[in-house]
């Protein structure tokens, strides 16, 4: 055979071998055998806890930890629910009677956080919107509203909030016409508490998924945890994700979007993220995602950024100390901070613009 032809085939063989190697590397499966998962319903959502077991740790130990976590979450739900009787309901009942409410000591820490986050977000995150949430019907798990409330009712509730005192940890009110709702912050707090319980039980590698909001720690064996971010308006059914984030140590990833809790009335979509300035669903964005180490901050900030809208999200992120954030506008454009864009693995067709 011609020497040059032989060389050609030799190189071709090497090329094919290399290509096969890449394919094999890409297809390699991560370790799954050491990941244990438990799911349960709580806080009005599906809670999924995944733990990567280190050598010496057993599934029984995980089950024992979850055995303690489930009742803790049930008690937590009771405490912060606006429907069932608990600490927060008692506060709301006093406010409804026009009285000042004394806040139970166990509620103080989150009240203090809510007050600070409300200030940091310049009021875009506000737990005093409970009356608006009630008006729009987002509390009713059995059936959301089917049409927007009256303009007068919204105006009256907004006026009551405007006249009400700022949130305080020990006492609140009187604040006639105002109800408190911690739905924009409690999930983050609860996810953090589940994480703390897992750590106390000796688990250093976990993922807590609270109905799509994620608190992660450690790694999944030799790789990081991989979190997909849902596309608010998937261009194709086969591509439901905007992209992927791989976690780095202790991280919380929260997204607020308009695509699940909503109803439609006369062709218009009304979702659950209410702008405290207008009393109506915030317009301009379809989703807002933040990454930070503090789950309570992440929860409040994803809501505040969504409410801030396309022109305000960047400043709000700065004001709240969030340096990793991404939003999608109603026009489909995706914007992100530099720190978020640097690590985000966007899906094909998703173009991320950095806003410094």
């Amino acid at each position: 055979m011609d020497e040059r032809l032989k060389q050609f085939f030799k190189r071709a063989a090497w090329g094919v071998a290399l290509a096969l190697l890449f394919v094999w590397l890409a297809q390699r499966q991560p370790e799954h055998d050491q990941v244990v998962i438990e799911e349960f319903l709580g806080l009005g959502t599906l809670i999924n806890v995944s733990v990567y077991l280190e050598s010496g740790q057993t599934e029984d130990q995980f089950d024992a930890a979850m055995h303690d976590i489930r009742p803790m979450i049930a008690a937590y739900q009771q405490r912060w629910s606006v429907i069932t009787d608990g600490g927060l309901s008692a506060v709301n009942q006093a406010l409804a009677k026009g009285e000042a409410a004394r806040i139970d000591a166990e509620l103080h820490p989150l009240f203090a956080r809510a007050a600070a986050l409300s200030t940091a977000s310049r009021g875009l995150f506000d737990v005093r919107v409970g009356g608006l949430v009630d008006l729009w019907g987002w509390n009713r798990q059995e059936a959301f509203g089917t049409q927007p409330p009256d303009d007068e009712a919204i105006a009256a509730t907004l006026a009551a909030i405007a006249a009400a005192p700022a949130l305080d940890a020990a006492h609140y009110g009187p604040a006639p016409g105002v109800q408190l709702n911690f739905g924009g912050i409690a999930k983050g707090d609860a996810a953090g508490k589940i994480g703390a319980s897992l750590r106390a039980a000796g688990f250093e590698h976990y993922l807590v998924n609270m109905g799509g909001d994620v608190v992660a720690r450690g790694r999944k064996g030799d790789g990081p945890w991989r979190i997909g971010v849902r596309h608010p308006r998937p261009p194709r059914a086969e591509q439901p994700l905007m992209g992927i984030v791989t976690t780095r140590g202790d991280e919380t990833i929260f997204t607020s979007g308009d695509y699940e809790r909503y109803f439609e009335f006369e062709g218009q979509r009304y979702h659950h993220l209410i702008d405290p300035r207008s009393g109506r669903p915030a317009r301009g964005l379809t989703s807002a995602t933040v990454i930070t180490s503090d789950p309570v901050l992440a929860d409040a900030a994803s809501t505040a950024l969504f409410v801030a809208g396309p022109d305000g999200w960047r400043d709000t992120a700065r004001a709240m100390g969030i340096d990793q954030a991404m939003v999608m506008g109603a026009d489909g454009r995706v914007q992100a901070t530099q720190a978020f864009a640097d690590r985000f693995q966007a899906s094909t067709g998703v173009a991320v613009t950095v806003l410094p």
Partner: protein, 120 residues
């Protein structure tokens, strides 16, 4: 390097690049779905077998439709439709639930690109 070598190198790079672009989508495909009622596993569905499954929840029947590689809630006794708004689920690691009916669905699979959770 001869012209043929150069051509070959270009073709190989091209093939690798194009395959990557064509096959890499984040999120691995799900192969099965775990169905729970009130947190208790009641069924594991193979997503390669299309069909409809009627799951008895706390308030009534939730209907799940399976098509090759994907699944969705099509009917449920809830009125707020959160489960149905989720649409088709096809990514391993994704999940959805009909809270009023206490029925939840979690997709499993371990192919390339599978995620551990979907943020939504």
């Amino acid at each position: 390097m001869s012209l043929a070598d150069r051509l070959l190198v270009m073709v190989l790079f091209g093939v690798v690049g194009l395959s990557f672009a064509a096959f890499w989508t984040p999120g691995g495909p799900a192969t099965e779905a775990e169905i729970r009622v009130g947190g208790e596993l009641v069924a594991t569905l193979d997503l390669s077998h299309p069909g409809e499954h009627h799951i008895e929840g706390h308030q009534g029947i939730s209907v799940l439709r399976v098509e090759p590689g994907r699944l969705r809630f099509v009917e449920s006794p809830c009125r707020n439709r959160v489960c149905i708004h989720r649409g088709w689920l096809n990514t391993a690691g994704d999940s959805s639930a009909c809270l009023p009916n206490r029925v939840s669905v979690s997709l499993r699979g371990s192919g390339a690109g599978a995620v551990d959770a979907v943020n939504h």
